[in-house]
Amino acid sequence: MNSPMETTSPGLWALAWRRLRTDRIAMVALAVVALFLLTLLLSATGIVARNWDAEIGVNYAPPTFMGAQSAEERGVQGMHAAEEAVPDNPRDPLADVIRKLRAERGAGAATDAAPVEYYGVVDPLAREIAEIRAELAKGSAATAVERRATLPLGADKWGHDIIQKTIKGSETSIVVGLTAALLATLLGTLFGALAGYYGKWVDDFFNWFYSVFTSVPYLLLILAVAAVLQQKGVLTIVLILGLTGWTGVFRLIRAEYIKHKGREYVMAADAIGASDLRKMFIHIFPNISHVPLVQMSILTVAFIKSEVILSFLGFGVPVGMASWGSMLNEAQNELILGKWWQLAAASAAMAVLVTAFSLFTDALRDALDPKLK
């Protein structure tokens, strides 16, 4: 209750914020979401997780609390494993054969420094090759030294740090979720407003458009858009999700506009000579703005999950980019080998954000309850 002395009154948003602030769960959820967004910001600006793709651990390095594992335990058959098995000449697969041949030709006669003649042919590049080999050996020895046996949350197949990869993956996934939700909400709101407000053939047209979109199976639609766009990338996923996800928002906004256009306050706006656009977006929109807001929040959660599914199916972010979806996709193969940490990290991050976001959305909807006194 305001005292009569008060000259300004809190608007809708101020009141909603007041209600939201008294909701403890909402505030915790908001803090979690804010934390994710802060991490996103830091990672996007390169302050954290800039070198997430540096191979700082041995492949499949386990989390620190599990202790280091030997190569066999890790089940590694990659190139580093081969190196350890044949330490003296790791790069040349034919080294053993050559050595055998040399021995057959008679040991001692050959000098290492002089050009070697194999089968009567002098290798003109032998010296250069030897130099390169020596350098490579030095280099690989150096990385091998730096690679750590364990990392706080383990490493993936290439030895990327899971923590940094998850942070980077969160950035991609949240950016995709938010921008796609924004796009879908914008489209849905615009179409819904036009269809609901003008009615008649405009409504028929958009309804037809809506029916076509919703009658095609969702995955097929995604495949179609992906095929048209021709390239993999974050922008593509955003477009795919945004262009296919507006239908739900459209239906709700259209219904709201149909409901509101007959209200007396809109008639009153008409009576004072307000234009159609003015009635649609200055009069009606603020009265229904809670709908797109809550929808956008719901869509964000849905699209984060969709990105995961898309990446999992291989329509997601390109190789060389981390996202929760691509991490889960990799984890699919790792799980057979018992490498659960990448899956755990990506799932945990996603579950925490999605839960917090959903709880926040619920509270937001309650706080924005448009029942005014």
């Binding site: 009154s9 007396e264 009576a271 004072i272 603020p286």
Partner: protein
């Protein structure tokens, strides 16, 4: 005629929690009231909105919303030797519908639209009396017959939307009396109905009360209705009882100033004071109501005509079949001349087309026939762009001030918007000044500028709506049921304001209302509409004193005769 007390309310206090985290923001809606309902009699609980009358009736039935309402300790509702407030919810359910039943204001929303009315009445019988389906069906027909529904067998198989408003309320009454309750609580049962239907329902309730020897607690804001039906009156204001006593006593000699004020705020039918009395006139003993002067009404015939409407028609088309459409004539053949500075009253019941006339003249609906000449130009035929300058000269005030103001705009924005759209006032500062002037003119404080509509009462909101129209300095103001949603005391204030504005600016009004007393008070000429057509058109005094058309006569005879009663008992 009455002997024992059927139900006694003792020191009832109900409080509402407005903010679930703040105990201090509790609002006490009922502040310790006590009254008795004697057996076999009708008690009217009268009060304006916010007086706590509905809360009182809901607490008798134990129907208060449990999440935010609480009956404070010490309160008692005694019925049959028991305190109803101590009963368990199971015991209460047993009582509700069987011994105490209730009917509500909106019959349409109280009936379940997906069941037939017969089924819904039978449900009560099966639940409370355990009747078998056949017996129940027989009793349903009996009940429908009793509440005066023609052809009960056919109507019991009808769905609620197939019945008229009056019939729906009859069905609600049939449901309420199905178990022969000892007490019937009726919460504004006739407020949503037309005056002729209201009369029938009131007569029905009186007959049933007498026949079944039950008691009725009749809740209403309308003292005139009380005069028709009640034996006892309890007048409430702000959660307190201002006065209680037998109806005759209260009407003859109201002891409380508030009761006296309520009785006088309604525009009287037989005379026309310059200004209506408002509550403040009575509450402030130093002030005397200026009722003495009479206001002359009527037209002489040589006033300049500002709006000449000829043969106005509006049809709505509904699709039927593949290519066909069905025409519904909402308005046809309406012609009138509106003289400058005069008021044309339009009366009729719901569905008579009176609102459509107003909306069509504003071009909020497009007319399908006829013309409206405004200074010689047909405003119905001209293109929209050409109409815009005329739009600001014809303005409309809607019925519901809660719905006609955009809840997301501050009052300042609401009032500045028309100025912006029509380019009135050179600068923002100039416009702000104009808005403040208007706020003062309609009697609102300057601080209102930054507030939102929900912070105002109904009467204040209607003032904002009036101010919005005045920003454009219109010549014609259409008032579409503009005071119908307001409490009587507030109604009088708004009517006085409209009257003052007409005197000051020479506005012409088209005053649309179902309330004959209000139309009579405000109008120079009155047009009576029935089913889309004008049935009678004459000077307002002529209409009331010498009604020609049978429909007008019927309308007039249906007005609750509290005014007569006051006159009768005071004479």
């Amino acid at each position: 005629m009455e002997n024992n007390t059927l139900l006694g309310v003792r020191d009832l206090r109900v409080s509402f929690r407005l903010d679930k985290h703040d105990k201090h923001a509790d609002f006490e809606a009922v502040k310790g009231i006590s009254f008795d309902i004697p057996e076999n009699s009708t008690v009217a609980l009268v009060g304006e909105s916010g007086s706590g009358k509905s809360v009182t009736s809901l607490s008798i039935l134990g129907l208060l919303p449990p999440e935010n309402a609480s009956v404070l300790p010490g309160s008692q509702i005694l019925y049959g030797g028991r305190n109803l407030l101590d009963l368990s919810s199971g015991e209460m359910r047993e009582l509700r519908g069987k011994e105490i039943s209730m009917i509500f204001q909106e019959p349409m929303s109280s009936l379940n639209p997906v069941f037939t009315v017969g089924y819904q009445i039978a449900e009560v019988l099966r639940l409370h009396l355990g009747l078998a389906p056949k017996q129940a069906q027989a009793r349903v027909l009996e009940l429908l017959n009793e509440v005066g529904i023609p052809d009960p067998a056919a109507k019991s198989a009808a769905y609620p939307f197939q019945l008229s408003g009056g019939q729906q309320q009859r069905v609600m009454i049939a449901m309420a009396i199905a178990c022969n309750p000892k007490l019937l609580i009726a919460d504004e049962p006739t407020t949503a109905l037309d005056v002729t239907i209201q009369k029938q329902i009131l007569e029905l309730m009186a007959a049933l009360q007498d026949k079944h020897r039950m008691s009725v607690l009749f809740i209403t804001h309308d003292l005139a209705v009380v005069g028709e039906i009640a034996d006892h009156v309890v007048v409430m204001r702000d959660g307190e009882i201002r006065e209680k006593g037998s109806t005759d006593e209260v009407f003859r000699n109201p002891r409380d100033v508030y009761t006296r004020a309520l009785l006088r705020c309604r525009p009287p039918l037989e005379k026309r004071p310059r200004r209506l009395a408002v509550i403040e006139d009575f509450m402030d003993p130093g002030k005397l109501p200026e009722e003495a002067q009479e206001r002359a009404r009527g037209v002489s015939g040589d006033e300049p005509i500002i709006l000449d409407v000829r043969n106005l028609g509006k049809s709505f088309f509904s699709r039927e079949g593949l290519f066909g459409s069905r025409e519904f004539k909402a308005v046809q053949g309406v012609s009138f001349k509106l003289p400058r500075g005069k008021t044309l009253g339009v009366v009729g019941e719901s569905g008579s087309g009176k609102t459509t006339v107003g909306l069509t003249l504003m071009r909020l609906h497009e007319a399908t026939a006829g013309e409206a000449l405004f200074e010689g130009h047909d405003i119905l035929a001209m293109p929209k762009a050409e109409f815009k300058p005329y739009k600001r000269r014809i303005q409309i005030i809607f019925q519901n001030p809660y719905a006609s103001l955009n809840p997301r705009f501050t009052v300042g924005q609401i009032l500045s918007e028309p100025l912006l759209i029509h380019g009135i006032g050179g600068s923002d500062a100039e416009r702000t000044r104009m808005v403040h002037e208007l706020l003062a003119r309609v009697g609102l404080p300057a601080a209102s500028y930054h507030k939102y509509p929900h912070e105002f009462s109904g009467g204040q909101r209607q003032r904002i709506a009036i101010a919005r129209c005045l920003t454009m300095k219109p010549d014609i103001l259409i008032c579409d049921e503009s005071v119908s949603a307001l409490d009587v005391s507030v109604q009088a204030q708004v009517l006085n304001l409209l009257q003052d504005l007409q005197d000051e600016f020479g506005l012409s009004y088209i005053f649309i209302s179902h309330d004959l007393a209000v139309v009579k008070y405000m109008s120079d000429q009155v047009m009576v509409m029935h089913e889309g057509e004008v049935v009678e058109f004459a000077d307002s005094d002529d209409i009331y004193l010498r009604p020609q058309h049978p429909y007008t006569q019927k309308l007039l005879s249906a007005i609750p005769k509290a005014d007569d009663r006051i006159r009768r008992v005071t004479a």
